[in-house]
């Protein structure tokens, strides 16, 4: 079986592209006109294969971008990459224990999502959530400390990777595919309260075949909920490739009556543009929308997975060298004359410094006290009169 998995990507590459497939490169966006004033937004044109749609017209391929925004995006993506790499190193040093699912290679999805929505929009995802948590109002120190299990963590060190929340970010969920109906519920609440906000419920290609996902689709379409269902298709669900797990690998068409759009998840400009399009579509009251980001993760499913038993190392290296999102944005910035190599190196250094400092601060944070065992179980003020502990004799009175 493992040998079959290795042969399959080679066979897929040899088949000539008669059918128009989605573009996977990170550096194919072209500049439309020469930039006259760097402080003004300028237009760029995306590759024509950046989007594929289902029952909906694709967004326009012309995007307005601005220099400062692109530099900020570059810095954020580099920060997220560094943070995930720091988590990798901490796990290998046995400071982070348990589960650690890293999103190295998928930065364009999280950063693109953040730059396409407003701070009031809601986001919910599964366990590959560290970049989303930081982007949605968290801090790098908070996330690292939470992974380390320290008091400065975003859940006070008591929750871990699958329990990180901010007011507009609903985690951090452990059960595969369980966050999709919850996301539909959040969208329902937004519509009920009359808020003009969108809810983004993310899931992976491995979770796309779960039954409750389709139940959520039905309810969202029935009641026209302002929910965008986002499938992060990184081609592998744990160790099973998408072709081996799904009969229909075009995840953006799985919504039946719900229109869908497939986006190149390695090109940050395409991702951000598609997210803006989706948000506007949904907030206008057109009902739900399905989005599929075609992306790739360089690491394994989690830290206990080397990532090479179901795919070749050459494939990972090829994706890393030719389709890396950060490198793609770097090429854009340099080709369009927005910044020099030195300035980008400076941004890299700043990102690394920021993450290193956050890691050091998180390491100095203490582990939770034993009194903290009893806090944060109930909402403050609604605790019962007593709570039982681990043994019969261990009882805490509030």
């Amino acid at each position: 079986m493992a040998s079959l998995a290795r042969i399959r990507p080679c066979l897929a590459r040899r088949i000539p592209t008669l059918v128009r497939g989605i573009q996977m490169s990170a550096d194919t966006t072209q500049l439309q006109d020469a930039i006259t004033d760097p402080s003004q937004p300028f237009t760029v044109k995306l590759h024509e294969d950046s989007f594929r749609t289902y029952k909906i017209d694709p967004p326009s391929l012309e995007v307005q971008v601005q220099k400062d925004e692109l530099l900020k995006i570059y810095k954020d993506m580099q920060c997220m990459r560094r943070m995930e790499m720091a988590a990798d190193a901490l796990y290998k040093a046995k400071l982070i224990r348990g589960f650690c699912h890293l999103a190295i290679g998928q930065e364009a999805v999280s950063v693109g999502l953040e730059y396409g929505i407003t701070p009031e929009d809601r986001v919910i995802t599964a366990y590959r959530c560290h970049p989303f948590a930081v982007m949605r109002g968290g801090t790098i120190k908070g996330v690292i400390a939470e992974l380390l299990g320290r008091q400065d963590g975003m859940s006070k060190g008591k929750g871990g990777s699958m329990h990180i929340f901010t007011p507009s970010f609903f985690g951090g969920n452990g059960i595969v595919g369980a966050q999709v109906p919850v996301g539909a519920g959040i969208a329902f609440a937004q519509k009920y309260l009359g808020n003009k906000t969108a809810t983004f419920a993310l899931y992976g290609d491995g979770a796309s075949n779960q039954g409750q996902v389709f139940e959520a689709f039905n309810m969202a379409k029935l009641w026209d909920l302002p929910c965008v269902f986002v499938c992060e298709n990184n081609k592998y669900g744990m160790g099973t490739s998408a072709e081996r797990s799904s009969s229909n690998t075009e995840y953006f068409t799985r919504g039946d009556k719900i229109p869908g759009i497939q986006v190149n998840g390695m090109d940050i400009i395409a991702s951000r543009h598609a997210v803006q399009f989706a948000r506007n579509w949904v907030v206008e009251g057109n009902g739900p929308l399905l989005m599929e980001f075609v992306t790739y993760r360089y690491g394994g499913h989690s830290m206990s997975d080397p990532g090479t038993t179901y795919r070749t190392r050459e494939e990972v290296q090829r994706m890393r060298s030719t389709q890396d999102p950060i490198r793609g944005l770097q090429r854009y910035i340099e080709d369009w004359g927005l910044a020099t190599e030195q300035e980008l190196k400076q941004l890299d250094k700043e990102a690394k410094g920021e993450v290193d400092q956050a890691v050091e601060e998180a390491k100095t944070s203490p582990i939770p006290r034993s009194e903290d065992l009893w806090t944060d179980i109930y909402y403050k003020g609604t605790e019962p009169s007593f709570m039982r502990g681990r043994e019969r004799e261990e009882v805490h009175y509030y």
Binding site: M85, P306, E314, S321, T322, D324, I326, K345, K352
Partner: protein, 306 residues
Amino acid sequence: MLAAGHPRAFGRAMHSARTLLQRRCLHQTRARLAITNLEMPAMSPTMTEGGIASWKKNEGDPFSAGDVLLEIETDKATIDVEAQDDGVLAKILTPNGAKNVPVGKIIALLAEEGDDISNLEAPKEETKPSSDTDAPTTSAPEPPRAASQQSGSVQEKKQVHHPTHSKPLLPSVLRLLVENNITNAEVIKGTGVRGQLTKGDVLAHLGKASSPTGTYKEPKQEPVVSQKVEPPKPLDGAAIRQLIVSGLSTRMKPKAPVPSIPPTFDSVIADYLPPTTETAKSSSQSLQSQTASPRSSTAAYFDGLL
């Protein structure tokens, strides 16, 4: 078949494309200034030490993020270690084949491309490892002290004598011997399997039991009386023929006919009626004079009903 040859050629093409790309583009990460230490990674959460199977890069080789630097041998498998960033392998500190390398130990030094790596020394022993060694040494004297205290409280002798026996000693026996300070176990006679000492032997030796088996008595076995019964004589030819013929004749005799009484109404009904003296008498009478008066008996039967 095709696919087998394909990845290699593809990989070579990609490698050359990649080096071309590297020359054209920036590296992914160029932010390091100083030498970074490559520590022994824990490839699984339970790993505490491992061995270096082989280094895939030599000193001075450049590598990019995702390249395999070395293979680590854990107790479970041999796992590749990938590089996180681009760089140059400056110095290898633990060579191929090193065993029992603890997790966290520095195994190599990594530098950025273009750095001067000619005069690199192995880093001096940092304070962290020395503090680790201090902690075990302080904790090591404590357990022996605690152990000696305990043994001193139980008995005055400091060393624990180990009674030996030519046969294996059972744990219960060993405990008794140690508790009662019996150093020479050969003194006690063993009545166990193959001469082993049993708990009862030791207790009897100590005087705490009356005998090695205590109050257990083996049940008396009756002497087998086998002489009275004569062994059956073997049959000769004539006796066998006699046996066969007698068996045949008994088989061939017609069965004695069972005297069947023709059933009358009363006789059949009598089984179902409650046994009363009248019915018993009438049934016996009817048996004797069955053809005489069947009607009167039936009339009598219906007497109580009509």
